[in-house]
Symmetry: C2
Subunit: 349 residues, 2 copies
Amino acid sequence: MANFSFEEHPHRRYNPLTDSWVLVSPHRTKRPWQGQVEKVIEEKRPEYDPTCYLCAGNVRSNGEVNPDYQDVYAFTNDFSALLADTPQGSFQSGELFRAESESGICKVICFSPRHDLTIPEMEESAIRKVVDKWVAEYQELDANPDISYVQIFENKGFVMGCSNPHPHGQIWASSSVPEEPAKKQANQLKYFQKHNRTLISDYLQGELSQKVRVLFENDHFVVLIPFWAVWPYEAMIIPRRAMARITEMTEAERDAFANAYKHLTTIYDNLFEVSFPYSAGIHQAPTDGESHEEWHWHMVFLPPLLRSASVKKFMVGYEMLANPQRDITAEQAAQKLRDLPTVHYKENI
Amino acid sequence: MANFSFEEHPHRRYNPLTDSWVLVSPHRTKRPWQGQVEKVIEEKRPEYDPTCYLCAGNVRSNGEVNPDYQDVYAFTNDFSALLADTPQGSFQSGELFRAESESGICKVICFSPRHDLTIPEMEESAIRKVVDKWVAEYQELDANPDISYVQIFENKGFVMGCSNPHPHGQIWASSSVPEEPAKKQANQLKYFQKHNRTLISDYLQGELSQKVRVLFENDHFVVLIPFWAVWPYEAMIIPRRAMARITEMTEAERDAFANAYKHLTTIYDNLFEVSFPYSAGIHQAPTDGESHEEWHWHMVFLPPLLRSASVKKFMVGYEMLANPQRDITAEQAAQKLRDLPTVHYKENI
Ligand SMILES: O=P(O)(O)O[C@H]1O[C@H](CO)[C@@H](O)[C@H](O)[C@H]1O
Ligand SMILES: O=P(O)(O)O[C@H]1O[C@H](CO)[C@@H](O)[C@H](O)[C@H]1O
């Protein structure tokens, strides 16, 4: 019998950050597709849309008027999932029925007044302003004693449930630490207590010595497909220096982060020559007043497209009920992305 | 300040089966929707489709010919994610890079030769044949020493990544126990060791004494929206008697299970008068040779539609990166489903 090779044979890979496994089926991209094909809406958007509730000067559904902002703009979500004034309390009946009140703050961050842009189409200096805004928002929420975790994220594209194409992201800050960051916290802490180095520093060193999954490097950041990627072109932006939170970045690091963010989203768009949908977010230390030396912050990108601009990977059935599964290996995905031009395809049109 | 009420205020609910939390935002269904609207493809399908690779007598992509089957039909998936002949082996480099080979068997189960039907449109006696087939397949795979877990599931609807509308389900059987059933196993075991009763028996008793989330009961099964539901109309079919696996059902229980399955999928279809998409699957004891008294098997339904036939809940952004979140309470969902007619809407057309 042939020797086991994780480039060829079905296998499970371990994610040490979340202590979980992903099933990888390298041989499976050959199956035919008669299923759902996504609408590719590549209409040219205007720079300003009078009906958009995120454009400068427009009235939002609660009657407020957006200021005439010039770069970034943050406001409290008019339809927040978390509210600051939730009464505290809990409900418990035996061991099996338990609920706890959860309070928090949800914000919307407009990335640019230009309705027609996306991150990869923005100047690096403009993306840098987004980074600065994230840092400022994190700082403010960190000072709020009711907030224990700040989730900064971006849903890009209708296929990712984004309800408005104006370039924007969100922040949901909550009184407790949500599931995913809590898992990453527990595993990073265990590792740090054992090795006195962050898990991610050691992981990064491993990746940089192999290079097979690395997509891009600058002085302060590395962009790579994680060994344990679940989504077809899942990627991470990792700072070289172990920092618990984005507020610790130097000026040069903030610039380099903007540079990495633009690079990754540009090659994403170039893959299928379409505005590449994803959910992305920053995982970092909770805002619970502790120092969290074990944390090494990073940004995660979860894009659903698999074969083309119109065929995505469905995380359904087996994936929802049993185990996440992917059809190409992380190494194959990295190879494809590395081979792409680094200038945005629209610049050549 | 008002008292905390989980019908009104944002809160987290605990899922004792998976030891995880869901964020519930009861006030949030009011937000406007400018995002993606699903195509509702409600074409009338023919009873037989010459291009369908699941219809009786047709040739599949690997050249095999489907027999002229009369009720149910199972075959090995031509594009299996798991393969029986995977060489055993593992890869490890430090603590952070770990992979293990995974072998298994993937099968497709045609529920009916009729291309145009779905479970709620089938006779109960025909659904009973599906149940019998599942039992037989589980039994056969249980006898296979290479298989530790058998995941029986159904992806219904294009929106759930189903690649063919012919009524069918799948079985993916693997050499290791996947993530979700492994979690349920650990928590059921802990509970059983403490109480000497299955977690689900006690949970069921709690639900039956409150009735607010119960949708349907027959002599042997209860259908309910779990207290910790994540998807808008997520539901469970639970046998009243603690059984570790579906092979333990009596004849009467098999009939009652078919009856519950038809009931639930009928009210689902009636909710928006559309063929209601979902992923559903049976969680039961691993096939690892142990008795597993702690297991109480059940069937889980995860349907994505939220507001209408065309607007689904997107589990993206915050949900992928931080914590599952829902916009209506389990009690509101149960109320809506309970109020529906129990005769399939198409029978009145
Ligand atoms: O096997 P199918 O129907 O082609 O594929 C569907 O179900 C599988 C199992 O849930 C998923 O892995 C696929 O993403 C989905 O499209
Ligand atoms: O807040 P939006 O953009 O209206 O909504 C989107 O992002 C939210 C946070 O990830 C999700 O809960 C919603 O399901 C999604 O449609």
